[in-house]
Symmetry: C2
Amino acid sequence: MDEIALPTLIIDEEICRRNIRNMAAKATHSKIFFRPHFKTHQSLEIGRWFRDAGVTRIAVSSFSMANYFAKDGWNDIMVAFPVNTRELPLINDLSSKINLSILIADADVLDTLEQNLTHLTDFYIKLDVGNNRSGFDPENLDALTALLEKAGRNLMLEFRGFVAHAGHAYQTQSLNDVHKIYKTGTEQLSNVKLHFEKQYPNIISSWGDTPTCSLVNEFHDSDEIRPGNFVFYDLTQFHLASCDWEHIGVAVAAPVVSRQKDRNEIVLYAGAVHLSKDFVKVPDAGKVYGEIVKLTPDGWLRYNEPIYVTRISQEHGIFYCPDEFWDDFPQGSLAGIIPVHSCLAADLLRHNRFYNLKTGTFME
Amino acid sequence: MDEIALPTLIIDEEICRRNIRNMAAKATHSKIFFRPHFKTHQSLEIGRWFRDAGVTRIAVSSFSMANYFAKDGWNDIMVAFPVNTRELPLINDLSSKINLSILIADADVLDTLEQNLTHLTDFYIKLDVGNNRSGFDPENLDALTALLEKAGRNLMLEFRGFVAHAGHAYQTQSLNDVHKIYKTGTEQLSNVKLHFEKQYPNIISSWGDTPTCSLVNEFHDSDEIRPGNFVFYDLTQFHLASCDWEHIGVAVAAPVVSRQKDRNEIVLYAGAVHLSKDFVKVPDAGKVYGEIVKLTPDGWLRYNEPIYVTRISQEHGIFYCPDEFWDDFPQGSLAGIIPVHSCLAADLLRHNRFYNLKTGTFME
């Protein structure tokens, strides 16, 4: 890792490929589609690891991300975010080349789409199954019927089904709560699909989020899953118990820039512009911005007594280092940080390029 | 603003230029140097607005940022972050071309610098005046003397002075506290400089941070100021009372992607990957991630009863919109958001390019 000079996301390819294979196998076992969300990694090379595991359909969170992956040969891409009609030129360009799906969360987009879509575009309807972020009430079948009637008059729109995302699964305190969210949410999703499939026989239901998809072994009541974070996992998922420690596939390598022995504090070159300000609350430590690990040529080692990044500013991250581990972090060395939220850390660090531990090279 | 399709930082050039001129005038009035911190904007074009105001010396937070501005003709650049010795090849390259200053916050870097610096490089010593982040205790003159003796044996290092940054001024609750931090911190800085200037007659003392530099009208006890955020200001500075509303020079234009009339909520395409998750606590509203404004061709208008972004996820920002303003935000329109922390928003949004309100064009 001598070549690493800047805060860098280091990737354990073996762990990530195993996470991909495990989730793909669960989907196959339940005979449902697997449409992983690529916003977590935003990497062409990691995308190819999914392809190696048989993945052909993906989700992304923006049209520019769809465009990026379309150029690498992906041709079934859902933009799993309420359609931004200000991007219609790009939407039309993508629809002319690949099988693009958009998300409708608000009936008011239909007029704009009617007037501007130039190519056949698949759409899914976003249902709100308790996250209260966006989408239609699954109980309000009248609103859904009206939406579908109006959309049906647009020859450029092809109805494909319903999607839901259990963002509220991230806020839970227990595994039991995660299972409840899964059960209630997928039942709502399934009921809506059953109601409409007489009229639209080929529609599917699509279900998202890493916590429920990680904890559930058999998927009922949805025809597709769209988790994203599971390829890397992170400290949030670990503390939610969505994953074990050995499933975490990324760490941030952070240069040690200053050590204050008088208060046993070490300052890392890794701050909010590298890790984000996302935190997780940890017993006995409160809000933490990452867990410190010892980097080795093969990966990283956890300390028996966890060490956390407890303060963060724009470029600085600070941790308390007990005497016995002081020599693990000499000035100018690299410390490892398991990020709180790997999606945000990867988004911030992709401009520095990711480092593949296995090949010992920076990734394209 | 029809061309704006993505979350975009929009810049009021008049306001920013006025902020620059005002700070430059205050420095001139106090007969001290003005070394603005460019990490806030990271823009060549905005850098030139500083040049128009007579600025010749700048601070940045990384060597890559120094390199970026060096290519635009800046040749007196301080990297105001504890020197990261893993970047020595770039440091040497920069030192061979421009007047580069580095920051020493830890004596342990000296051996590495001794062995690897190939060109004369200016250095400043970082003092910790109460922020407890990094740097030397200003009371510990023995440690400073030892550091300077060791550094003096390195023919590639040229001692230039002391720097301090009052990061703790951001955590204050009252203007009185900000003034106290300024007084105590600059006195400590000044005392250290006075102690060493007999031996090093040309050294200076350099003082940072936007809150104190904004609130103080006459600068005593420092020879230079290094504020950064003041060029844009933001909601945090407004609530700290470092600036008035009309000094805020940026807003984020965010596409309206979904509206939930049943609960008067509007979902914007502007989330943690655009605004960061930084928040400010506001009376009666709690934690907020931005304040909603109405965009106009000339700028933005504040609502009499402030409207805040109160929930944020990776790409979504959500606000409660009272009935009377519902029609200000039709589906597909742009809402304005005054960001909580303009440095982080600018860092995240610079890849989408900034939009200059005055010229009606995207900036390079």
